[in-house]
Amino acid sequence: MLSYIVRRLAAGVVLLFVISGIAYATMFLSGGDIARRLLGQMATEDQVAAKAGELGLDQPLVTRYFDWLGSALGGDFGRSWFTGEPVAQALENRLPVTLTLVIGTTLVVAVVSVLLGTAAAVRRGWLDRTVQLLSVAGYALPGFWIALLLALVVAVELGWFPATGYVPFSLSVAGWLSTITLPIAALSIGAVASTTQQVRGAMIDVLRQDYIRTLRSRGLPRRRVLLRHALRNASGPGLTVLALQFIGLMGGAVFVEQIFALPGIGLLAVNATTRGDIPMVMGVVVVTVVLVTVVNLLIDIAVGFLNPKARVR
C-alpha cells in the first residue's frame, strides 16, 4: 500500500509539471494586451510599453515559465498583476471558503444520497418511484437557478439567511453556518440527485446477490445484512461518484460564489483567467492539481478499506 501511495504521489508531481506548463503556455498565447488592461483606456502607448516591460511580458515564453517555476519551487508564487495581492495569501484566504462549500456539500450529498438511495432500493414501490422522480427533477434543474431562487426567496424575501457574504468560522460559528447554508443547499440538490441514483442502483445489484440471500437465510438481522454487508459492498460506485462530485464542485462552486458573493477560489480563478492574471492563475492551477491528486488517492484508499476486493498492492 505504501509503495502504491508513493507511486500515486509521484504521478501527481509529474502531472503538476505537465499541467502547469500547458496552463502557462495557454495563458501566454491567449493573454492579449495585459498591460493595456491593467492601465486602462486613458494610458498612453509609452506607459503600456513600460508596464509590459515591468511585468516581463516582453520576455520569451520559455524564459518566463522557468522564472515562474524557479520562484514557485522556492515557495514564492508571486503577486497578482491586477491587485498586487501575494498569490499565496489569496489562496490562503479563499481556499477555505471553497473547501467549506465543497466538503460541506459532499457530506450533505453523502448522507442524503445513502439514506435516499438505500431506502429506495430496499423499500421499492412508491418510495422508490418518488425518489427517482425527485432525482430526475433535481438533476434537471439548473444549479444557478436554484441558487438564485434560494437567494431571492429565503434570503431577500424571508430574511432567514444573509443574501451575500461570508463570515469565517473563527469569527462566528453562527455567522459561518448562516452564510454557507444556502450555497451548500444550492450545490447539493443536483449532486444528491445523481449520487442517489448511483447508490440506489448499486444497492439493488448487491441485494440481488446470492450471498445476501444466504446471509438472510442464516438468520442474520436485516439491519446487519444491510449495513455491514450490502451497503459496504455497494459503497464503491457511490464513493467514486462522490470523488468526481468533489472535483467537479471545485469548479462548479463558481456560480454559487458569484450569486452569494463568496470570496472563493472558483471566482478567483475565473476572474484571473479572463483578465490574464498569470501569477494568480498558476497559483490556482497548482492548488487544484494537488487537491485533485490527494482526493483521488484518499478515495482509492477508502474504497480499498471498505471493500477488500478493490485493494491495490
Binding site: 492579449g32 494586451d33 493595456r36 488592461r37 491593467l38 492601465l39 486602462g40 483606456q41 486613458m42 494610458a43 498612453t44 502607448e45 506607459q47 503600456v48 513600460a50 508596464k51 515591468e54 503577486r79 491586477f82 491587485t83 498586487g84 495581492e85 501575494p86 495569501q89 489569496a90 484566504n93 479563499r94 438564485l148 437567494a151 431571492l152 434570503a155 431577500v156 430574511g159 432567514w160 439567511f161 444573509p162 443574501a163 451575500t164 457574504g165 461570508y166 463570515v167 460559528v173 453562527a174 455567522g175 453556518l177 448562516s178 452564510t179 447554508t181 460564489e257 458569484q258 450569486i259 452569494f260 458573493a261 470570496p263 471566482l267 478567483l268 476572474n271 479572463t274 483578465r275 490574464g276
Partner: protein, 510 residues
C-alpha cells in the same frame, strides 16, 4: 415511547440549529444599516493601494479612505484646501506654489512635509500607473522649506489643480514606497486606516476611523467597509437586505428592481459618460470616406439618439451631440440641435461627398457592448448605404481601438475636465486620436488655451466644442444616467464628474 423520545430529540436538534443559524436578530450583522458603520458595495476590485498606481472613477473612494490629497475636490467640483492650505500660480502659469500643513502624520507615524510631497509627486510622474500622464508637464518640484513647495511645469497645465485633487495629489508615507505590501495595505494620512485582520483582499476591505486624524469633520463613521460583489444582482440583493448601505447599479433592470424595493436611486445633475460613435479615422487613412466631413455629418444624421435612449435604456439619460461635460462652460445646449435624425439628408450628404452607393466598414464588437445597440448601428448605417461588418475584438477592445485597428466604434466614454478632455481625445498625440487627426483651425484653438486666462480659456473650450460638433469628429447620442443606490439611514451627495461619490460625501441620516 422510545420512538416518541427520538422524535422529540430530533425536533429539539432542528430547533436548536435553527436558532443558532437565524439568531434573535435574523443572522450575523455584517455592518450595513448601522449609524457607526458605512458599508459600500462595489463590483470593482481595487487594483492597488499604491498611489502611484491609482486609477480614477470607481477606484477613487478606496484611496480617499486611507489617503489625503494635496487639494480636495468639493462635491460641486470646487477646489478646497486639504494637505495644501493655499496655492497660487506665477504670471507665466508654469510655477505653482503651495503651502502645506505642518500637523499631519501618516498612519505609520512618519510626518508629512514638503520633501515628502516632492517624493510623492515625482514618484507618481515617473511610475507606470494608469494616470501617470496627469503630471506629464511636471519638470521639477522645488522644496522651499518644510511647508512650501513649488511645482515647475514645462508648459501651463489648466488641469493640474484638479489632478492634485485626484490621483496625482495622493500622498503616501515614503517609508512604504519600496514595500510590495503598499499594493495591498495603504500607508496614508487619510481619515481611515485599513483593518488588515478584517480585510479579505478582493472581497471585503475594512477601514476604521483614525483617532488622531487632523480633520475630524471628514470622518462620519467609525468603520468604513467596501464589499466587492462579482455580480451586480448579488449587490442588488445585498442592498435589499440592508447588508450594504449604498452601491453603484448600472444595469437598468437592477435599477428598476431596486426602485420597486423602495431603495433610493440618486442620479447626478451632471452626467459622466456619453454613448455614441467615435469616428477615429477622420484622416481617411483606412476609410477615405471618413476623411470627408460631409460623410461624418451624414453619420450623425443617421441616428435617432433620443429614440435609442428610450428604447434601449428606458429613457434613463439625456440626448446630446457634444462630448464636453454639462459641467463645462463650453457646453452649449444649442449645439444639441445640430444633427436632427434625417436619413434622407444623410443620403444626400453621402451622394454630395461622392459616396451615393455607400461604403464598407469594419467595426469592433465585444462583450462590453450589448447586441441591440450593435444591431441598431448596423441598421441605421445601412439606411444611408454604409455596410457594417462586425469583428470581435475580445478582451483587447481598447488596445485595438487605440492602436488604430478600427476606423469607427461604438463607445461609452467619460467627459473629464476640459483640458484633460482635449489632451485625451483631441491633440494629434492623444491616446484616443489613434489616426493623429489634426486641423490647423483646431490646433490653433488648442495651442492658445494654456497661456489664456480663465475667461479666455472658457471661450476657447467653447470654440473647440463647436468645432468638434460642426466637423463631426464624434457622433454622440446621449448622456447615460449614473444611478447610485442608497438605503435608508444613509445620506449622500454625489460628486461632480465622478461616477461614485467621494467617501467624505456620506453621512448617517439624522
Amino acid at each position: 415511547m422510545r420512538s416518541l423520545r427520538r422524535t422529540r430529540s430530533a425536533i429539539g436538534m432542528v430547533a436548536a440549529v435553527g436558532l443558532l443559524l437565524t439568531g434573535c436578530a435574523g443572522y450575523v450583522d455584517q455592518g450595513g444599516g448601522s449609524a457607526d458603520d458605512l458599508v459600500l458595495g462595489s463590483t470593482v476590485v481595487p487594483a492597488s493601494f499604491d498611489p502611484a498606481q491609482a486609477g480614477d472613477a470607481n477606484y477613487v473612494p478606496y484611496f480617499q479612505a486611507a489617503y489625503d490629497t494635496l487639494i480636495r475636490r468639493e462635491p460641486d467640483g470646487d477646489l478646497a484646501p486639504m494637505l495644501a492650505t493655499d496655492w497660487s500660480y506665477d504670471e507665466s502659469n508654469t510655477v505653482l506654489s503651495m503651502t502645506l500643513r505642518d500637523d499631519v502624520t501618516f498612519s505609520d507615524g512618519v510626518a508629512f512635509d514638503a520633501d515628502v510631497a516632492k517624493q510623492n509627486l515625482e514618484r507618481f510622474r515617473d511610475g507606470t500607473g494608469p494616470l501617470g500622464h496627469y503630471l506629464a508637464l511636471l519638470e521639477e518640484v522645488v522644496v522651499v522649506d518644510p511647508t512650501h513647495v513649488e511645482l515647475h511645469l514645462s508648459a501651463p497645465d489648466p488641469s493640474l489643480l484638479v489632478h492634485l485633487g485626484d490621483a496625482a495629489g495622493l500622498m503616501a508615507s515614503p517609508a512604504a514606497f519600496d514595500s510590495p505590501d503598499l499594493a495591498t495595505v495603504p500607508a496614508g494620512s487619510g481619515p481611515y486606516v485599513m483593518d488588515t485582520s478584517a480585510t479579505v483582499q478582493g472581497s471585503s476591505y475594512v477601514f476604521t476611523r483614525r483617532d488622531d486624524y487632523w480633520d475630524p469633520s471628514l470622518q462620519h463613521y467609525e468603520r468604513l467597509s467596501f464589499d466587492i460583489f462579482p455580480d451586480e444582482t448579488a449587490l442588488l440583493n445585498a442592498l435589499k437586505t440592508g447588508q450594504v448601505d449604498a452601491g453603484n447599479l448600472s444595469n437598468r433592470n437592477n435599477v428598476n428592481e431596486a426602485e420597486r424595493a423602495g431603495i433610493e436611486i440618486v442620479r447626478p445633475d451632471i452626467h459622466v459618460s456619453w454613448v455614441g460613435l467615435i469616428i477615429f479615422d477622420r484622416t481617411g487613412t483606412t476609410i477615405p470616406a471618413l476623411g470627408d466631413e460631409r460623410v461624418r455629418r451624414a453619420i450623425n444624421h443617421a441616428f435617432d439618439g433620443p429614440r435609442i435612449l428610450e428604447a434601449l435604456y428606458d429613457g434613463q439619460g439625456t440626448p446630446t451631440q457634444q462630448i464636453f461635460s454639462e459641467a463645462s462652460e463650453a457646453y452649449d445646449p444649442a449645439l444639441n440641435e445640430t444633427y436632427a435624425y434625417d436619413p434622407e439628408l444623410a443620403r444626400e450628404l453621402m451622394a454630395e461627398a461622392g459616396y451615393p452607393d455607400g461604403f464598407d466598414i469594419t467595426m469592433p464588437t465585444s462583450a462590453f457592448f450589448d447586441q441591440p445597440t450593435l444591431q441598431i448601428i448596423r441598421q441605421s448605417l445601412a439606411d444611408i448605404g454604409v455596410r457594417v461588418t462586425y469583428e470581435d475584438a475580445g478582451q483587447d477592445l481598447i488596445s485595438r481601438m487605440l492602436a488604430g485597428d478600427y476606423p469607427m466604434s461604438l463607445m461609452f466614454l467619460g467627459a473629464p475636465v476640459d483640458w484633460t478632455l482635449v489632451n485625451s481625445y483631441l491633440t494629434p498625440d492623444s491616446a484616443w486620436n489613434p489616426f493623429h487627426a489634426q486641423d490647423p483651425e483646431l490646433s490653433e484653438l488648442i495651442d492658445a488655451v494654456p497661456a489664456a486666462d480663465d475667461g479666455e480659456q472658457a471661450e476657447l473650450f467653447g470654440e473647440i466644442n463647436r468645432y468638434l460638433v460642426d466637423h463631426a469628429w464624434f457622433a454622440p447620442w446621449f448622456w447615460i444616467d449614473e444611478t447610485y443606490a442608497v438605503n435608508d439611514g444613509t445620506d449622500v451627495v454625489l460628486q461632480t464628474q465622478q461616477n461614485v461619490p467621494s467617501v467624505y460625501n456620506y453621512t448617517p441620516s439624522a
